[in-house]
C-alpha cells in the first residue's frame, strides 16, 4: 500500500511484524536529518514520537539542540546505545548511515516514507540490522496505536480482540 517497493521488498522491508517489534522494543531513536524548523515533516514525526515516550537524539551538522535534546553532528558521535537510526535524508546518503548504524551497534535502520535505498538496506542486512524502508515511523506507530484511525485513515488493522489498539 502506497509504496514504490515491489511486493517482495515490502515483505522484507515493511513487514508489520518487524515494524511492531521495533516500535515495541525501541527506546532511543537517532534521527538523521531532523530539521530545526518546526513546520518540517521530521519535526512532526519527532514531536509525536517524543510524546509517545521515545528518546529522540537529533543528528544535525549545525544545530546544538532540537526539541530540547542535544544534537550531534553525525551518527557515530551519539553517546549511549541507539536502538533505531531513523533517516530523513536523500537515498544516495543512506549507505553511509547504514554503515554508521552498524558501527554504533544499532538494532535497526529505518528510512522514512519516500526514501528507498536497496544499497543501504543490503549493508544493514549484512550487519544483522533490521531494515524498514519507505515507511513513516509516526504513521506506523499511529496505525497500530490508533491515532491514525482517529483521523479517518485506513490503518488496515482488523481484529475482534478486545483492547487491541496498541503497537
Amino acid at each position: 500500500m502506497n509504496s514504490s517497493l515491489s511486493p517482495e521488498q515490502q515483505e522484507q522491508y515493511q513487514h508489520p511484524d518487524t515494524i511492531r517489534r521495533l516500535l515495541r522494543a525501541t527506546d532511543t531513536i537517532a534521527m538523521v536529518g531532523l530539521s530545526s524548523s518546526p513546520q518540517k515533516a521530521s519535526q512532526f514525526v519527532a514531536t509525536y514520537l517524543q510524546h509517545q515516550g521515545y528518546h529522540i537524539v537529533p543528528v544535525h551538522p549545525k544545530a546544538d539542540s532540537i526539541l530540547g535534546e542535544t544534537a550531534y553532528p553525525d551518527v557515530e558521535s551519539v553517546p549511549g546505545p541507539v536502538d533505531v537510526v531513523n533517516v530523513f535524508r536523500p537515498p544516495h546518503e543512506c549507505p553511509t548511515y547504514a554503515e554508521q548504524a552498524a558501527a554504533i551497534g544499532a538494532d535497526a535502520l529505518w528510512l522514512q516514507l519516500g526514501i528507498v535505498s536497496p544499497e543501504a538496506a543490503a549493508i544493514a542486512d549484512e550487519h544483522g540490522l533490521d531494515v524498514v524502508m519507505d515507511r513513516c515511523m509516526k504513521m506506523e506507530h499511529g496505525r497500530y496505536q490508533g491515532g491514525m484511525h482517529w483521523m479517518g485513515m485506513n490503518t488496515g488493522v482488523i481484529t475482534a480482540q478486545r483492547g487491541r489498539r496498541q503497537v
Binding site: 500500500m1 502506497n2 508489520p16 511484524d17 511492531r20 516500535l23 515495541r24 522494543a25 525501541t26 527506546d27 518546526p38 513546520q39 518540517k40 515533516a41 519535526q43 512532526f44 514531536t47 509525536y48 510524546h51 509517545q52 515516550g53 521515545y54 528518546h55 516514507l113 519516500g114 513513516c136 504513521m139 506507530h141 499511529g142 497500530y144 496505536q145 490508533g146 491515532g147 491514525m148 484511525h149 482517529w150 483521523m151 479517518g152 485513515m153 485506513n154 490503518t155 488496515g156 488493522v157 482488523i158 481484529t159 475482534a160 480482540q161 478486545r162 483492547g163 487491541r164 489498539r165 496498541q166 503497537v167
Partner: protein, 480 residues
C-alpha cells in the same frame, strides 16, 4: 524496552496499556487507566498479528474495519460518541493537537470517534488511504473541490451529472469565481478540448444520473494524468461493492452515503476518499504553505495522507460540513450489510429491466445490464457484479400525451414510493416531467437529456414478483 520508556512518563499502570494513554484523549481512550483490571484482557507483550499479515475480504471488512472493541467497555457495536468536544491530556498535548503534531480528537466538527469508525470502514472498502465523512453527498463534493480550487479556476465535468451537482458547479461555485464546462462523458476529445490553463480538476460519475451512462474510467484517468490534473469520480450509484474507482487509479472519489451505503433511507451523509496515488505536491492549492498552520505544507508533511489531512483540518473545519455522530452510526449499520443488499438490488433491477424491456407499454429501458444497451460492454468491464439498481425507462403511451401517461402510471403504483431519492431498501419512482422538471416544456426536457414520458426507478429489496406485478398493473392503467 518500551515498558521502561513509558515508566518515565509516570502514569501508566500496565505494560500493555501504556501507549494508548499517552495520546488518546481520555473520552475515547480504549485503555483508560480508570478501567478495572478485570476488564482489560490484553495479554502481555505479544499482540496478535491484528490483521496486519492478511488481506481480509470485502465482507469481513464491512463488519470489522475501523472498529476494534475497546478495552474499557468491550462494546461490540460501534458506540455513538455523541459529544461536541474532548478533554485534553495537558496543555502541551493540546498545543500539539492544534498544530496537527499529535493525532487525536479536538472537536466534532473536525473529527469524532463514531465518525472515524465509519470513515475507516468505508476507506477500507474503497481501498482508500483514508476518508473524510461529510454532512451529505453534496457536502462531500463541496469540501473535496474547495480543497483543490481557488478563484479563477475551472472544472471540466461530465454532462451526465446529478442535477444538484450541476447547480453546485454552475450557481454556487460561480459565486466563488469558479467556472465549469460540461462534456459528453465518453468523448475523450471533448474532455481534452475543454481543458484550459485554468482547469484544476476533472469530474464525472461512475454511473451518470439519470442517463445510466457508464463512464469509461481508464482512458479518462490517462488523459487526466497527461494533463497533471486530479480526477474526481462520484461513485454514489455503484458503491464500493460494485465498483472501486480508486483501483483504476482515479485519484479521488466522492460518494453520497445517503443512498445504498445507508440503505435504510434514514440518514443523510457523504464521504471523500483518496486513493493515495496522486501527487498533490504538484497542485498549488493543496501544496502551498498553509496560513492557518504556520506555513505547514500538507503533502510534504503528511505524504499520501496530505490531501485528506488538509480537507479535514482546513476545509471541514472552516465549512462545518461535518457528519453527525448519530448519522455516522446509522451509516455504519448500512455498511455492515452492503454486499448482501446490493447483490439483491442488482438482481431485482436486472429482472425488472428485462421485464419492462419486453412490455408493450414501454418504449425503451436504459439499463446497462441489458445486452442491447450502449453501455453494456463498459458495465461488464467496470461493474462486473451489476450496473446498480437505478435506471430510467420511456413509456409508450399508446396515443396519449406522454406527460399525462406518466402521471397516470405513477398514481397507480402501489408498492413503488413516489419521492425524490434513490438507493433506499424500498423501491422508488420519480416522473421528472410531473415533478422535478414540471416547469420545463417537452422540448426543453429533451434538450436536457430527459423526456416527458421518462420514469426513473430505484429498485429495492422487495419480492421480485411483487415489483413486476405493481409495474404491470400501473402500466395497464395507462391504456384504460
Amino acid at each position: 524496552m518500551l515498558t521502561s520508556v513509558c515508566k518515565t512518563l509516570g502514569r501508566l499502570p500496565t505494560p500493555t496499556v501504556e501507549l494508548s494513554v499517552t495520546t488518546l484523549p481520555p473520552r475515547m481512550s480504549p485503555d483508560s487507566d480508570t478501567s478495572p483490571a478485570s476488564s482489560s484482557p490484553p495479554s502481555n507483550g505479544t499482540p496478535s498479528a491484528a490483521g496486519a499479515g492478511r488481506d481480509f475480504g470485502f465482507e469481513t471488512r464491512m463488519l470489522h474495519a475501523g472498529h476494534i472493541p475497546d478495552a474499557e467497555t468491550g462494546s461490540r457495536a460501534v458506540p455513538i460518541h455523541q459529544t461536541t468536544s474532548y478533554v485534553f491530556d495537558d496543555t502541551n498535548y493540546a498545543a500539539q493537537l492544534f498544530e496537527l503534531k499529535a493525532y487525536g480528537n479536538i472537536y466534532t466538527r473536525i473529527n469524532n470517534p463514531t465518525t472515524a469508525a465509519f470513515e475507516e470502514r468505508i476507506a477500507s472498502l474503497a481501498n482508500a488511504v483514508g476518508a473524510v465523512a461529510t454532512a451529505s453527498g453534496m457536502a462531500a463534493e463541496l469540501v473535496a473541490l474547495m480543497t483543490l480550487l481557488e478563484p479563477g479556476d475551472e472544472i471540466v465535468a461530465s454532462a451526465h451529472l446529478y442535477g444538484g451537482t450541476r447547480t453546485l458547479f454552475t450557481n454556487t461555485f460561480q459565486k466563488l469565481s469558479v467556472e465549469a464546462s460540461f462534456v459528453e462523458p465518453n468523448d475523450l476529445d471533448a474532455w481534452d478540448a475543454a481543458i484550459t490553463d485554468d482547469t484544476k480538476v476533472l469530474y464525472g460519475e461512475t454511473i451518470g444520473n439519470p442517463q445510466g451512462s457508464v463512464l469509461d474510467i481508464e482512458p479518462l484517468v490517462e488523459l487526466a494524468d497527461a494533463h497533471g490534473l486530479p480526477l474526481i469520480i462520484d461513485n454514489t450509484f455503484a458503491t464500493p461493492y460494485l465498483c472501486r474507482p480508486l483501483d483504476w487509479d482515479v485519484p479521488l472519489v466522492v460518494q453520497s452515503a445517503t443512498k445504498f451505503i445507508g440503505g435504510h433511507g434514514t440518514s443523510i451523509g457523504g464521504v471523500v476518499l483518496d486513493g493515495g496515488s496522486f501527487d498533490f505536491t504538484t497542485i498549488d492549492a493543496v501544496a502551498e504553505p498553509s496560513d492557518s498552520y504556520h506555513g505547514l505544507k500538507f503533502p510534504d508533511t503528511f505524504g499520501h495522507q496530505g490531501y485528506l489531512m488538509k480537507t479535514r483540518a482546513e476545509t471541514l473545519r472552516d465549512t462545518g460540513a461535518s457528519l453527525s455522530p448519530f448519522n455516522a452510526f446509522q451509516l455504519i449499520q448500512g455498511l455492515e450489510t452492503l454486499s448482501v443488499r446490493v447483490e439483491r438490488h442488482v438482481d431485482n433491477a436486472q429482472a425488472v429491466a428485462e421485464h419492462l424491456h419486453e412490455h408493450p407499454r414501454v418504449e425503451r429501458v436504459a439499463y446497462p445490464g441489458l445486452p442491447g444497451n450502449p453501455y453494456h460492454a463498459l458495465a461488464q468491464k467496470y461493474l462486473p457484479k451489476g450496473p446498480g439498481a437505478i435506471f430510467t425507462f420511456e413509456l409508450s403511451p399508446d396515443g396519449q400525451a406522454p406527460r399525462a401517461a406518466g402521471k397516470t402510471f405513477i398514481e397507480n403504483l402501489q408498492l413503488f414510493s413516489h419521492l425524490a431519492n434513490v438507493g433506499d431498501a424500498r423501491s422508488l419512482v420519480l416522473h421528472p416531467a410531473s415533478t422535478t422538471h414540471q416547469q420545463l416544456s417537452d422540448e426543453e426536457m429533451r434538450a436536457s437529456g430527459l423526456s416527458p414520458g421518462m420514469i426513473r426507478l430505484s429498485i429495492g429489496l422487495e419480492d421480485t414478483n411483487d415489483l413486476l406485478w405493481d409495474l404491470d398493473q400501473a402500466l395497464h392503467a395507462i391504456s384504460q
